[in-house]
Subunit: 795 residues, 2 copies
C-alpha cells in the first residue's frame, strides 16, 4: 500500500467540507458553492466518499439535481441513515461483505481528485459525513482518517441553539490535527445569532465566515405535488443565494488562497536560503533547490513540495519517507493526535511553571516512570534539561565532581580527562565537545580542547552475508583477528564471549592501556563515557558490545588504576574506578528495540542521559539520571557545592507530559507484541534461544529484514551493513577510504531522494555511510516499500 | 479583585457538569447523581451559576422537585432560552442593567462551594449552560471563563445522531484548556449506539463512561393531568436509575478520585524530594516542606497545594502569584488557550520535522518575523537552538571564528578571550560558563576556565527616592563620583550624556584598560559580550547604559586595539574591532517593555540571542541572529569550516509556531496601547519628552508604579530599588555586604510566601536582592494587590 500524498493542485481548488455537527447543512452549502462556480462558467465537482441514508436522500443525488451541472461522485453508499461505522456493519450482514480499508478510501479520493485535476474541473468539494469526529467505515474518526490528505477545510457551522459551542469545538478538533480551516459557512438564525458571535470569533483568526439565509423548509408529508414545490423552492433558493456577493467573494478568496499557498511553497526555499543559518551545513555551494520544502507531515512521511510539478496537473505535494527519523527523534509518527492533545493539555493546565523549589505532576510522573523504564538499581535521581548536549554537560559535571571528590583532586589546578571511544559524539556545546577526540566536528571550534583518551575498537558488521567482528589492523596484535558469527544474537552472547580468548585479550589490552596512560603519561581520569552499542554521529559505528562490556569491567574492577588513594568505594551498589556515564540520547528508549541500550551490555551505568525519543519525537527534553552516591557528592552545607545548573524551561510541563505518554505508549507496544512480526523474522536463531532464555529482553531484532541485510551485504557497492532496532546502516565502498568527508554515499542518497513511483526518501549520510531509521510505529507495508527501493537501488 | 483559587475540598466533592451540546440531558444526569447521593444518606447540592429559559423550566427548579432533598442554588437567572450572552443583553433592555463580571461570577461560585464545604454538604455539582463553548454572560466561552476553578468535569455526552463527534470534540476542547474529565454520562440509544463507541473511546483514556436509559418522553401538550403523569414518570425514573449499580460505582469512583487527588498532592513533595535532582539547588538541609506543589496554573497564578489546610474545610488549593515569571519565561499567562491551540496545531501538522536541508512554515515565518521585530539592519541570518545557553554557545562560536579569521589567529595554539562585564551570566553549559568571571556559579565546575576580562561598572538604582548612578569605590578615580538624575528617562538620554564628562571619562577608562590588557598582558580578544541594561542572574544588576554604550563604541571605533593587522573591516555595515554579541535571552522581547533591550543603548549588535519570552513562556526555543558578514566567515569549500552545531529538535515546529504567535501578540499589545496606563504612570517626564520624541520607542516605563519605588526606596530595610518593564528589583540592606550567599532577602521572601488573605507570592532571591517579575499580560488590579503586599511587608 503506497502512502497517500496530501492534496494540492494548481489546476484544481480542492476542499474538504466538514460539519460542526450532523444536519447543519453541509450538502446545501456545497450545492451553493458548486452552483456559484458553475454560474461563473467554471467546472465544479462534488465527491462524497461515504454516504449513508436512503439513496433518494443521498447527498450526491442532491448535488446532481440542484448543482447546475456539477459533476458528482460517491465512492461508497450505505442505506441506513446512521454513522458509517454502523452502516458498514449492517451492510455486511445483508449484502456481500465489502471491506473498505481506510487506506483504500484515501487512495480512491486522491485518485479521483487527481483525475479531476487532469480534466477540466476547476473546483472540487469532498464532503464528510456527520460531524468532524463521526466515525468512518472502520470506526476511526473522520478527522483522523482523512488527515493524510490535509485538504483545506470548509467548515459548516451550526446555527442552532448550542451551535456556537459545537462549531468552536469542531474547529478546535480540526486545528489540533493540523488542518487549515479556510472558511466557515452557516445559516443565519436571527434569534440565536450564532453567525454574529462566530463571525467575530473567526475573524480574529483571519478566517472568513459567510452566513446565508436558511433554506426553504422541507414539506412534512411529501407527496408528488409538494415534492415539486419543494424542488422549485430549492432551485430558486440556490439561484438566489449562489449569487450573493459574500459567496462570490468567498470563492474568489478560496481561489486566491490556493494560488498563494502554492506561491508560498515556491518561494520558501529561496526565503530560507536568505534567512536561515542551517545546522551542520556548509552554505557555500548550497542553493535554494537543495532545500526540501515540507508542507506538513503524517506518520512516517513528510509532505514535500514537488517543485517539478509546476507545469503538470500533478499534486504539488508528494510523500517523502522520513528516513532519518527527523534526526533520530521520531518515534510515534508525525502529526500524532494523541501527542498533540497531551501537549495541549499540559499547555492548558500549566503553561510552563517554575521547577526549582517546586514540583508538578508531569515532572514527577516522568521521573517515576523513567526510573522504572530504565530498570537500573543504581539510579535514584532525575535531573532535567532541554537536549542531549545539555544533559551530557550535566552528566560530565556529575561524573567529574564525584571522581575529584573521592580522589581528592583539585580540578582547577589539574587537567581531568575522560575515557571514551574513538568516534564518540555527545553534542555541540563546548563542554561535551571536549569529551570527543579531535575530529572534523570540533577541530575548528576555537575553544575546543579535547580532554581524554579514546580507545579504538572492533566493529560489528555484516560482510557478504556473514556477521563479523572486524578488528582494526592496528589492534590485531592485541585483540586478535576478525571473528565470524552465525547470528547477531550470538554477537550479544556476552556471558559466553567474556570467557573466550577475545574476552581475555580485550580486558588485558584495556588494562595495559589505562595503566600506561596514568602511570607513564600521568593522566588523570574523571569518568568513563560510552554510547552503548552504536556510536551515532561518529558514523553509525556498531561497537563490539564485548569491548564496551570489558571496558566497563576493567574500569570498575581496578579502581587502583586511577588513584592509589581512596579508591575503595564506601558502599554498595556504588561506583568504582570511575563513574560510568552512558549517553543513550540516540540509542535509548526503543531506538534499538529495547527500553535501554545498556541492557545489551548487561551493564548498569552510574549516570545515563536520555533525549530524542523521550518525547516520542515532538519537542526537546532531556533527562540525566544518576545514582544516589553521585547525588550525595554535591551535598554539603555550602550552596556553592550544589550542581549549579538549570535552564529556564527545566522540566517544562508540555515536554514531561508528552514524554510520559510516549514512554507508556512504547512500553505498551512492547508488551502487546507490536513488533512480533519483526522479531519473528529475526527469530531463526532467536526462537531457538528463547526457549532457554528467561525473558523477551534477550532478543536482538530489527524492523529491517534479515533477508534485506543478507542480499544488500553482497552488493558490489556495499562494503558492509547492519541493522538493529529501527536503524539500518549501509557502509558503501569508497576508494578514498571513507570518513566524514567521503562522498561515497551521495549516489545512493540521490537515488532514494528521487524515490519510486509513489514516494521519495529523505535520508542522511555520514561520510560513506547511509543510514535509514524508522519510527517505532512504522508499518511493515511501509518498510517493505522502502526495502524494495533499496534493492532496486543497490542490486 | 482577588484571584480565584481552584476548587478542591477534602470535605466536599465538587464537580462541574459540562454538556457535549445543549439539550443532552445535563440536568437529568445531575438529578440522577444527586438522587443517588441523597439516597446514600449523604448531602448533595446543585449550583447553576447562570440559567436561561423560563423560570418553570429552570434547572435548579427541576433539581428541587426531583432531587430528593438536594440543596439547590442559582446565581443568575435569565428568562430567554438563549445563550447567556444574548440573554444578558436582552435582560439589560427590559430590566435594570445588571453587570456580572466574569470575576464576580467565579468568586460567587467559589464562595458558594467554600460555604458548602464548611457546612454538611458532601457532594456538589456546578452545572454549565449549553455546550462547553457556549458563551457566558459576557460572551466568553464557559470553558475559558470557568477555567480558574478547574473543577473536575462530568461530561454529559450526546446520544443523538452526530453525538459521537460532538462529544469527542467537546472533550478535546476541555482537555486543551487543562481540565480533567473525570467521568462521562449519556443516555443509551440502541439505534445510534453512541454509548458503545464512546465507552471504548473513553475507556482507552481511563475515563469511566456510564450510559443510562433515556428518560420518559415529555408530554407534547402539557395539561394538569399529563403534567402529573410526567412528574410521576420522572420520579419513578429517578428512583430506578439512581440505584443502578453503574451509577453507584461511578459515585464511589468520584469519591475515591477526590481523595486520591488530595493524597497525591500530599505525597508529591516527598516523592519529589526522593526522585528529583533540582536545578541550582543545594539539597542538604532541604526538606519536602520546602517544595511547592503546583497543581495547575492560570494567568499570573499557580494553584498550589495548601498543605496547612489539611484539617480545615478550606480549599486545598491556593493562588500563588508567579513572582519570578517562572524563571523569567512567562509572558502571556499560564494556561493560555491560544498558545495551547498553536502548540497543538503545529504538533498535529508536523510533529517535529527535520530541519537541516529542509524548511517548514513555522521556522521560516519566525525567522522573518523575528528579524522585523529586532529591527537591526546588521542582522541577516537566524540560527535555531533550544535554550539560552546553547544559543550563546553558538554566538560565541560565531564571534570567535569571525575575529580569528580576520586577525589570522590560530585558536588551537593561543588563548582567545572575550570582553565582558563583571556579574555577567550566559548559561550553564561549560563553553558559556567560560564567558563569565570566576564566581560562585562556576568556581567548583571542574572544567570551568574563565577566558576573558570583565569590567566592573556603575549601577543605576533608586536610593531614597532619587535615581542615582552609583560608581564603585575602586572606579571613582577613573569614572568620577555618583551622579543623581531627576528621572529614569534622563539616565537613558545617552546622546546628551555621551557629551558629558561621564561619557568622556568612561571612554577613556575603557580605552586605557583594553590597551593595557592587550599590550601589557598580551591578551587576545575575540568578542564583546553584553547583557544590555540588566545583568540578570548575576544579581539583577542595572548597568549604567552609558557605560555599555561607551564600551561598544570604544571597541568598534578602535579596531587597532585588538590587532595591528587586518583591522579595517572590508564593508559596511560590518563588525569592527570585535564582534558585538548581545545576550538578550532575559532582557529582550518586551521583558523590559521594548522589543529589544539593544534599543535602550541605541546600539546594533552583530549577533544577538533571544529565548525565554520567545515562546511567550511555554516551551524552550532559542534564536541566535547574526549579520551577513559573520555568516560569511563560515563560508568555504570545506564542510569542516561550517558552523557544525545543531540539536536534534532544531527549529521544532511547535516552538516556532508558538513563538510567532507570541511575538505577534506582544507586538499587537504594544501597538494597541495595552501598556498605556503603565506608561502614563511613568509619564511625568515621559509625556514632556514624547512631544519632541519621534516615536514611542523612546519611552522607559514599568508595570510597577513610580510611587511604589519612591516609597520602598525610603524603607529602612531597603538599600536601593529599581523597576523597568516587567522587572522590579529590591536590594535589601545586608550587614555582611550582600552577594550571592547573602540571606538578607530571605525575610522578605518569607513574608511574601505567606502572602495576604487572598494569595501567596512565589519569589526568587539573588543574594540580598529580591526581584519580582510579571508577565506582559498582568492586569493592573493584580499588580496593585502585589504592591499593597510589598508596602505591608516593607513599610
Amino acid at each position: 500500500m503506497a502512502p497517500v500524498g496530501a492534496g494540492l493542485w494548481r489546476t484544481l481548488r480542492a476542499h474538504q467540507v466538514y460539519g460542526a455537527n450532523t444536519d447543519v447543512g453541509k450538502t446545501i452549502m456545497s450545492t451553493v458553492l458548486c452552483n456559484a462556480i458553475q454560474q461563473q462558467k467554471q467546472k465544479a465537482a462534488f465527491l462524497k466518499p461515504v454516504s449513508t441514508g436512503a439513496l433518494d436522500d443521498a447527498d450526491d443525488r442532491h448535488l446532481k439535481r440542484f448543482g447546475a451541472g456539477t459533476l458528482t461522485k460517491c465512492l461508497y453508499q450505505f442505506d441506513e441513515p446512521v454513522s458509517p461505522h454502523i452502516a458498514a456493519k449492517l451492510k455486511s450482514v445483508s449484502q456481500p461483505f465489502i471491506l473498505i480499508s481506510d487506506d483504500d478510501l484515501l487512495s480512491s479520493i486522491h485518485k479521483t481528485l487527481s483525475d479531476w485535476a487532469r480534466s477540466e474541473i476547476d473546483f472540487a468539494l469532498v464532503e464528510t459525513a456527520g460531524g468532524v469526529h463521526s466515525p468512518g467505515p472502520n470506526g476511526n474518526s473522520q478527522a483522523d482518517l482523512y488527515r493524510p490528505l490535509r485538504l483545506p477545510i470548509v467548515l459548516v457551522a451550526d446555527s442552532r441553539l448550542g451551535g456556537i459551542s459545537s462549531s468552536i469545538s469542531a474547529y478546535e478538533s480540526l486545528l489540533l490535527r493540523g488542518y487549515d480551516i479556510q472558511s466557515v459557512l452557516l445559516f443565519r438564525d436571527e434569534y440565536y445569532q450564532n453567525h454574529e458571535y462566530l463571525r467575530d470569533f473567526f475573524n480574529k483568526k483571519s478566517i472568513p465566515l459567510v452566513s446565508l439565509p436558511a433554506p426553504p423548509a422541507k414539506p412534512l408529508q411529501p407527496d408528488a405535488d409538494s415534492q415539486l414545490r419543494d424542488e422549485e423552492a430549492m432551485s430558486s433558493y440556490y439561484q438566489k443565494v449562489s449569487q450573493e456577493s459574500e459567496i462570490l467573494r468567498l470563492l474568489e478568496e478560496m481561489s486566491v488562497q490556493n494560488t498563494q499557498r502554492i506561491e508560498r511553497l515556491e518561494e520558501m526555499a529561496n526565503r530560507a536560503q536568505d534567512l536561515i543559518w542551517y545546522p551542520f551545513t556548509q552554505h557555500q555551494g548550497m542553493s535554494a533547490k537543495d532545500i526540501t520544502v515540507i508542507d506538513s507531515a503524517h506518520d512516517d512521511y513528510f509532505q514535500t513540495f514537488n517543485s517539478g510539478a509546476s507545469t503538470k496537473p500533478d499534486s504539488e505535494l508528494r510523500p517523502t519517507f522520513d528516513g532519518s527519523a527527523s534526526w533520530w527523534t521520531q518515534g510515534l509518527g508525525h502529526g500524532n493526535p494523541d501527542l498533540s492533545l497531551s501537549a495541549a493539555y499540559a499547555a492548558g493546565r500549566y503553561g510552563h511553571v517554575m521547577f526549582a523549589g517546586a514540583v508538578h505532576e508531569p515532572a514527577l510522573s516522568l521521573a517515576d516512570y523513567l526510573l522504572k523504564t530504565l530498570d537500573n538499581p543504581r539510579f535514584a535521581k532525575v535531573f532535567y534539561t532541554d537536549n542531549g548536549s545539555t544533559g551530557m554537560e550535566v552528566a560530565i559535571k556529575m561524573g567529574l565532581r564525584a571522581a575529584c571528590d573521592r580522589y581528592g583532586w583539585d580540578a582547577s589546578q589539574e587537567k581531568i580527562n575522560i575515557l571514551g571511544l574513538k568516534g564518540s559524539y555527545h553534542g555541540d556545546t563546548i563542554g561535551v565537545m571536549d569529551c570527543s577526540e579531535p575530529s572534523t566536528y570540533n577541530q575548528k571550534v576555537e575553544w575546543y580542547r579535547g580532554r581524554g583518551h579514546w580507545f579504538d575498537f572492533p566493529l560489528v558488521k555484516m560482510v557478504d552475508g556473514v556477521w563479523t567482528i572486524a578488528v582494526p589492523e592496528e589492534l590485531k596484535a592485541d585483540l586478535g583477528d576478525d571473528v565470524e558469527f552465525d547470528s547477531l544474537n550470538s554477537v550479544f552472547d556476552l556471558e559466553l564471549r567474556l570467557q573466550s580468548e577475545s574476552g581475555q585479550r580485550y580486558k588485558s589490552y584495556i588494562h595495559r592501556t589505562i595503566e600506561n596512560l596514568v602511570q607513564e603519561k600521568g593522566m588523570k581520569f574523571g569518568a568513563l563515557i560510552l554510547e552503548p552499542v552504536i556510536l551515532g554521529a561518529g558514523g553509525m559505528l556498531f561497537c563490539d558490545p564485548l569491548f564496551q562490556r570489558c571496558l566497563t569491567a576493567v574500569v570498575r574492577e581496578n579502581p587502583e588504576l586511577f588513584s592509589a588513594q581512596n579508591n575503595t568505594p564506601k558502599s554498595s551498589p556504588s561506583w568504582s574506578g570511575l563513574p560510568v556515564i552512558f549517553d543513550e540520547v540516540f540509542t535509548g528508549l526503543y531506538r534499538l528495540g529495547r527500553p535501554t541500550s545498556a541492557s545489551f551490555l548487561d551493564v548498569h551505568p552510574d549516570i545515563a542521559v536520555n533525549a530524542k525519543l523521550l518525547t516520542g519525537g515532538l519537542i526537546p527534553l532531556c533527562t540525566t539520571v544518576a545514582s544516589q552516591e553521585i547525588f550525595d557528592t554535591f551535598s554539603s552545607p555550602e550552596k556553592s557545592d550544589a550542581l549549579l545548573h538549570g535552564h529556564s524551561y527545566t522540566a517544562h510541563a508540555v515536554g514531561c507530559t508528552v514524554a510520559v505518554d510516549s514512554l507508556k505508549t512504547m512500553a505498551e507496544m512492547d508488551l502487546n507484541g507490536s513488533w512480533d512480526e519483526f522479531k519473528a523474522d529475526w527469530g531463526t536463531d532467536w526462537d531457538a534461544k528463547s526457549a532457554s532464555a528467561t525473558a523477551t529482553s534477550s532478543d536482538v531484532w530489527s524492523v529491517w529484514s534479515q533477508g534485506l541485510l543478507m542480499d544488500l551485504s553482497c552488493a558490489d557497492a556495499v562494503e558492509s551493513i547492519f541493522a538493529i532496532g529501527t536503524v539500518l546502516s549501509i557502509s558503501l565502498r569508497d576508494a578514498q577510504g571513507g570518513g566524514y568527508t567521503s562522498t561515497a554515499a551521495k549516489g545512493l542518497q540521490q537515488k532514494l531522494a528521487v524515490g519510486g513511483d509513489q514516494f521519495n526518501v529523505h535520508s542522511r549520510v555520514l561520510g560513506n555511510v547511509l543510514y535509514l531509521m524508522s519510527s517505532v510505529t512504522s508499518k511493515q507495508v511501509s518498510l517493505q516499500e522502502m526495502e524494495s527501493l533499496l534493492r532496486a537501488s543497490l542490486l
